[in-house]
Symmetry: C2
Subunit: 144 residues, 2 copies
DNA sequence: CAGCATCCACCGGGATACTG
DNA sequence: CAGTATCCCGGTGGATGCTG
């Protein structure tokens, strides 16, 4: 945790990329780190983006196939999610001018690179899920 | 990325903790990995949790100090966020029965352990923020 | 100072219908 | 089949006022 601790400390005038942190100083709106956190979370933290990227990680898929894989996602949200991911360069869109139309979506290298840190988070979640659940039940049981 | 690739593949009957993944198989609601992803994201992905944990990573703080540090956060949301974090065992709450009341919040070991994977994500965000922004502008410029 | 309750604006996201 | 547009509901979160 030493490295983590070091990384968490930062004098706010340092360039962000060198010392990413969560805000040992004031986490104000003017703090660029907060902005980046917000940004990545709003991109990745929505209901579907991660699932879509996950599904696309291994193989390109067309729209309908994608919708079947990520089940529960609505037609509209799949479109919207794909637009956002494409806009950010995490997913590529290839349209074949045929009839009927065929469009293939694939994760870009950037999109696939996202998997690594995300897996870290997922790993954490998986590893500590039980402990969290336990704490949650304890809390709900004895709020006194 | 070889390890990542391996970790992303999973036959859905394997225990989750051993092979966390984003869903190379169907990302349905019955897929436990999806549930965990959703869970961790809804915990950590909200507007303030990460900022609060980040601020608490180094030192315990009382309510008002916390509110000053995480600036922009409303009174209500700070309370709410702290309650959730406390419930999940990520933050501890110590109340001193004095007048005026004093309450100190501190990150638990579990809470601090979250920093590690999160920093991975923040690092990714920081490292690729520019590329994303560029892609975004390119997309907005030439949607044709 | 810490915390709860109320009111309200906003937006994410589901269902659906229509176009190329 | 792929994509857009419209409608609508529910949750999130901000502002504010009241209590211990």
């Amino acid at each position: 945790m030493a490295t983590t601790d070091a990384a968490l400390r930062i004098t706010a005038d340092e360039p962000l990329v060198d010392h990413p942190h969560l805000g040992s100083s004031t986490c104000s709106t003017d703090n660029p780190a907060s902005a980046v956190i917000r940004d990545v979370l709003s991109r990745v933290g929505d209901k579907w983006s991660l699932l879509v990227i996950g599904v696309l990680h291994d193989e390109p898929l067309r729209f309908t196939a994608l919708q079947r894989k990520v089940d529960g996602i609505s037609h509209r949200m799949l479109t919207q999610t794909l637009r956002n991911l494409e806009r950010d360069g995490l997913v590529s869109r290839t349209s074949y001018p045929e009839i009927p139309p065929r469009v293939e979506y694939a994760a870009t290298p950037l999109g696939r690179s996202l998997s690594e840190p995300v897996l870290g988070l997922v790993g954490w979640a998986a590893a500590n899920h039980e402990e969290i659940m336990a704490s949650r039940e304890g809390y709900d049981g004895a709020p006194a």
